[in-house]
């Protein structure tokens, strides 16, 4: 997959979510008739209508495995250039991770996490620089504080704790973004579809 570079790096969701999965099977596809445009819904079906239809047939037959929708808020300074790893990673096949690039993980307010869940994400992951490595000195510390709030709100809403994660990239064991996403996707797959899926 050709990597497109975000010009300004403004912390805004890209209109069309980038797909990591080599094969384009998506979670339960539904008719694209929706009142408001939902990026989580439209992107995969638009991109691969044929495969989606096949996947739905597979699901009807009871054979397809659950493909979670993941939203990844990724800091430009630690995650940049690593999506390709995710695309080629061992477990990534078939999963569409939607990247939301931010200049710093400190930008990701609890409301952004909630927005992703509201739109039907099965899992949300925030990726930032390791402690002491923040390009803006303390953005990741802010994220660590805000993440506590996000976690509490998500747990009050009754969503499983495994659906939300904060990861420093590279991980303590040197894990790349791709490996982290693979592992997170697997975990969310086990939790199952979000009750907020539309």
């Amino acid at each position: 997959m050709k990597k497109e570079k975000q010009a300004s790096g403004t912390p805004k969701a890209r209109p069309a979510a980038k797909k990591v999965g080599a094969t384009a099977g998506t979670g339960a596809p539904k008719p694209a008739a929706s009142k408001k445009e939902n990026p989580l819904k439209s992107a995969p079906t638009d991109a691969a209508p044929v495969e989606a239809a096949t996947a739905s047939k597979g699901a009807a037959a009871g054979g397809a495995r659950f493909e979670p929708r993941i939203v990844a808020f990724v800091c430009e300074w630690c995650g940049d250039g690593q999506e390709a790893d995710g695309a080629n990673g061992p477990g990534a096949g078939g999963t569409a991770v939607r990247f939301v690039h931010v200049m710093c993980s400190g930008r990701v307010q609890p409301s952004m996490v909630l927005k992703a869940f509201e739109l039907g994400a099965d899992g949300v992951i925030v990726c930032g620089c390791r402690p002491g490595k923040c390009h803006y000195y303390f953005g990741n510390e802010r994220q660590a504080e805000m993440f506590e709030t996000s976690k509490k709100l998500v747990s009050l809403l009754g969503l499983e704790a495994d659906r939300l994660r904060l990861e420093w990239i590279p991980g303590p064991d040197g894990r790349t973004l791709g490996a982290v996403l693979d592992e997170f996707t697997e975990k969310v797959r086990r939790v199952g579809p979000s009750p907020l899926r539309k």
């Binding site: 409301s111 509490k152 709100l153 809403l157 009754g158 907020l196």
Partner: protein, 380 residues
């Protein structure tokens, strides 16, 4: 536009005399010169299409102080509500300083399959029944505590105190684990579709409990359930009241007694409790029951009371902070050490304002919810 013409008719805007009393008393207009209810109404009536469509419709605090003063009974606040609903349909939304976190929580709560874990505030000493005539509608209190932990607002204590007070008058209320937000902020933010979904859910769940009397410590919940649910989802098979209304009766009959203290206390009338529900005396009676003559009203109180500066999590900014600073200074000038409120949001907004750098030290005052004050003074 058709809806807006209808809104002008419904709210009696055509009766406007252009006297400007609304703008003169409006707390927002005082700090923000660009906002003028008089101008908005005059332009709207004159047929200016933009009057009810531009950004100023989101500035209103919907505190109803203007309607209180209007000689022609123009319901400016309702006009704002209808104009916002119209603007929302066009994709416009209020600016929220928390990134719309609360509106998102409310919209998430419209999902029928959601299984909230919101009962964490219930401690073993509280008596809650499975089945009862009485139901305590908690509101968003658990979420406030999670979101405003740093401000140390401790809103869960309001919920615990409410149950303690209800227990003290012999009521063991039902508390619904699947209660959803009443939708107050969505209604006033123009999101009618989602508001109706929340309303239907709550009414259905309350009906299922079989409770006939609903009590809440949140004036916004009470107003929404009592006044706006019937308008949107039809007549309700239950009665709704604010905690202070219920407790006042028990204090008057002598059934409920408090330990006296000599703290000097003043009271902030929440807009929804005062000007919307006309509950002015009850909270004052209760405060006098715990602190007697050391209770003192602010200069602007009861139906002249000034709003806490933000409503529906909209448009918090320098104008809100100016209103809050002014109000807290006024509270301090009564010589009181404590400002009692009867709305969790008033408490949050005031405590947030005092947290700002540059907030005048001499205006700082302790803020506490009435329910907490009462529960801590219960005669065991």
């Amino acid at each position: 536009m058709k809806e807006l013409i209808e809104a002008i008719k419904l709210t009696g805007a055509r009766l406007c005399l252009d006297c400007g009393k609304c703008t003169a008393v409006c707390p927002v207009a005082r700090t923000n010169g660009s906002f003028s209810p008089r101008k908005t109404v005059a332009n709207a009536v004159a047929g200016d299409e933009d009057a009810l469509k531009d950004d100023t419709i989101w500035h209103c605090l919907t505190c109803r102080l203007c309607s209180e003063r209007c000689p022609s009974d123009v319901d400016y606040v309702d006009l704002t509500r209808l104009a916002r609903a119209d603007a929302y349909k066009d994709g416009k939304e209020a600016q929220c300083s928390h990134g719309s976190a609360f509106q998102l929580l409310m919209r998430i709560m419209t999902a029928p399959e959601l299984k909230q874990q919101r009962m964490g505030w219930v401690t073993p000493d509280l008596k809650i029944a499975e089945k009862s005539d009485w139901l305590y509608f908690v509101g968003c209190i658990p979420y406030f505590d999670a979101f405003f932990e740093k401000l140390n607002v401790n809103t869960s204590e309001i919920a615990r105190s409410t149950v303690k007070l209800l227990n003290a008058v012999g009521i063991e209320p039902v508390v619904m684990p699947d209660e959803r937000c009443c939708g107050h902020d969505l209604l006033w933010g123009g999101d009618i579709e989602n508001f109706k979904m929340l309303a239907r859910h709550n009414v259905e769940k309350i009906k299922a409990t079989g409770a006939t009397k609903i009590v809440s410590a949140c004036p916004e919940c009470v107003t929404t359930l009592k006044v706006y649910y019937p308008e949107f989802v039809g007549a309700l098979p239950f009665e709704v009241m604010h905690l202070t209304e219920l407790l006042d009766k028990h204090v008057a009959s002598g059934a409920l007694k408090f330990r006296k203290n000599s703290k000097r206390v003043t009271f902030q009338d929440p807009c929804r409790l005062g000007r919307f529900l006309n509950v002015y005396e009850q909270p004052r009676n209760l405060l006098k029951a715990i602190c007697g003559d050391s209770f003192k009203d602010m200069r602007r109180s009861r139906n002249s009371s000034v709003c806490c500066g933000t409503s529906g999590w909209m448009n918090c900014g320098i104008h809100s902070k100016a209103i809050q600073t002014g109000r807290l200074t006024e509270a301090r000038r009564t010589g009181s050490d404590l400002l009692a409120t009867a709305c969790a949001k008033c408490k949050i907004h005031f405590m947030c304002a005092m947290n700002d750098t540059g907030f005048p030290e001499e205006s700082k005052i302790e803020v506490e919810d009435l329910a907490v004050l009462l529960a801590s003074s219960l005669v065991k």
